[in-house]
């Protein structure tokens, strides 16, 4: 053992040396570092859990949003549908109304024309009555040959015409 270098005071020196190293490193290096590692791993675990939770929540919210979007789209569709049908209805009504108005107008116009014609006929009739009376007067006043007859009638007609034009 001596030849190999065994020396008990040295052995004790190494034992002391190692013990001191062990204590110092344990207290000032391993413990703080392992504590930090522990804390960090628990931090990471917590954050992972949190991330999971957030992911779940966001998925839920996304689903909700999707639902709402579908709902909104549906609603929009129905609104557009409503509007379109309303507009169609309105335009139908409008068309109906204008048709009716036009018809009414037409009827009124026809009526007007008829009334106009009636009144014109009445006037004509009454004028003809006068004419006939005046022609008869003339006929009675004059001799009844054919030529004078014809003259008289012509005369009456001419008078009547001129009267007519003057009147109108």
């Amino acid at each position: 053992m001596e030849a190999l270098g065994f020396h008990w005071p040295s052995l004790i020196a190494y034992l002391l040396n190692f013990t001191i190293l062990l204590i110092v490193l344990t207290k000032f290096a391993y413990k703080p570092i392992l504590k930090i590692l522990d804390e960090r791993s628990s931090n990471i675990k917590d954050s992972l859990e949190l991330a999971d939770k957030v992911r779940e929540e966001s998925a839920q919210q996304q689903a909700q949003l999707d639902d709402q979007l579908v709902e909104a789209r549906k609603q929009g569709q129905s609104i557009i549908e409503d509007a379109r049908s309303a507009a169609e209805k309105l335009s139908d009504q409008e068309r109906e109304k204008s048709k009716k108005e036009a018809e009414e107008f037409l009827v009124k116009a026809k009526n007007d024309i008829e009334r106009e014609r009636d009144s014109a006929m009445d006037e004509l009739r009454s004028n003809f009555g006068g004419l006939a009376v005046s022609a008869a007067e003339q006929i009675i006043q004059r001799s009844l040959d054919e030529n004078t007859h014809k003259d008289i009638i012509d005369n009456v007609l001419e008078n009547a015409f001129t009267d007519k034009t003057e009147e109108s």
Partner: protein, 331 residues
């Protein structure tokens, strides 16, 4: 690209030239040329050298300025330093100084490194290096002993780091060349020598490992821990053959606890010393570039030996705290 290539080629050629020159001037080449080798044949002494004896205040190392006095007692000092230390009192040897340096380095690096850490921030810079070393070691310990890692980690890590740093210190260039000379330029002593090459250092570690193994064994299993070694159960039950076999198994277990001390000690001591001798011899035979691969080898040996020492300690501790089969248990 081509510059890099030419650099690599240049480096290779320089290495080759160094190797050739080393071969010619080294111990092998000088046999052919019949000249003195470039380096003297190294003398290997297993005991460490005495540097300072605090009780006789005889400073062997600190004598640069006092060559004449030193050279008088040169032969005696040589004998003293190499073939035995004063047997019964404390002296400072070159290996002890080396172990102090390793201790200081470890304390400075690890303690200062650990100060920079915060758990709520990403690890950065120097602290990051320290933390990754510690966490790698911790991961290893956890892989071996599982949940008990926290309890055994300090011993494991300290043994690993201490052995590793001590082994690698010796590989630093110039480290072991710091020497004292006599007036003729002969080396009379080396200031520093890696502590692993001093038998007392591995022995001290083995003793610490042994003490912790037994301590944890007793602490975990109580008095029943000794049941592993003294197996009288089967004998008392009247089973003669089984009892005798069991008894001898217990004796073997007990012996192996102490044999571990020896195997721990000589494994590390042998490896470290052999590494030193290997480097000396390669440098002696073919100086310069030839010993480079062996430096790489020694780096690896340092890691392996420190890992073996620390991991075996872990394994023994795990074995010690495992509840063993009771003496009275029937199989």
């Amino acid at each position: 690209m081509s510059l890099n290539k030419s650099l690599v080629y240049g480096f290779g050629v320089a290495l080759l030239a160094l190797f050739v020159v080393g071969f010619i001037v080294g111990a092998i080449g000088s046999k052919f040329t019949d000249s003195n080798p470039f380096l003297k044949k190294p003398e290997v002494h297993l005991p460490p050298q005495l540097i300072y004896d605090p009780f006789t205040s005889d400073a062997h190392g600190d004598s640069h300025d006092d060559h004449s006095k030193e050279s008088d007692g040169h032969g005696a000092h040589e004998k003293d330093g190499h073939h035995g230390l004063p047997p019964n009192h404390f002296v400072i040897t070159n290996t002890l100084i080396s172990s102090w340096i390793a201790t200081l380095i470890l304390i400075l690096v690890l303690v200062l490194g650990a100060r920079g850490g915060r758990s709520d921030r990403e690890p950065k810079g120097f602290y990051n290096i320290i933390e990754s070393i510690i966490s790698a070691l911790y991961g290893f310990a956890e892989g071996v002993v599982g949940d008990n890692a926290k309890k055994f980690f300090p011993l494991f890590a300290t043994i690993f780091l201490f052995v590793l740093v001590n082994a690698w210190l010796g590989l630093i260039p110039i480290y072991q060349s710091l020497s004292t000379f006599d007036s003729e330029g002969h080396i009379t002593g080396h200031f520093l020598r890696p502590a692993g090459t001093d038998l007392n250092m591995p022995l001290a570690l083995a003793i610490v490992s042994f003490i912790f193994v037994e301590y944890w064994g007793i602490k975990t299993l109580g008095f029943g821990y000794f049941g592993k070694f003294f197996r009288f159960g089967a004998l008392l039950k009247g089973k003669i053959f089984e009892g005798i076999v069991d008894f001898f198994v217990g004796i073997l277990e007990l012996l192996s606890e102490f044999i571990r001390l020896v195997s721990f000690t000589f494994r590390l001591f042998g490896n470290m010393t052999a590494g030193e001798i290997l480097l000396l011899m390669t440098s002696f035979l073919i100086p310069f570039a030839f010993s480079l691969p062996f430096y790489g080898l020694e780096l690896l040996v340092g890691v392996i030996q420190s890992l073996i020492f620390s991991a075996l300690t872990l394994v023994f501790v795990t074995m010690a705290i495992e509840p063993h089969h009771d003496e009275g248990e029937d199989h």
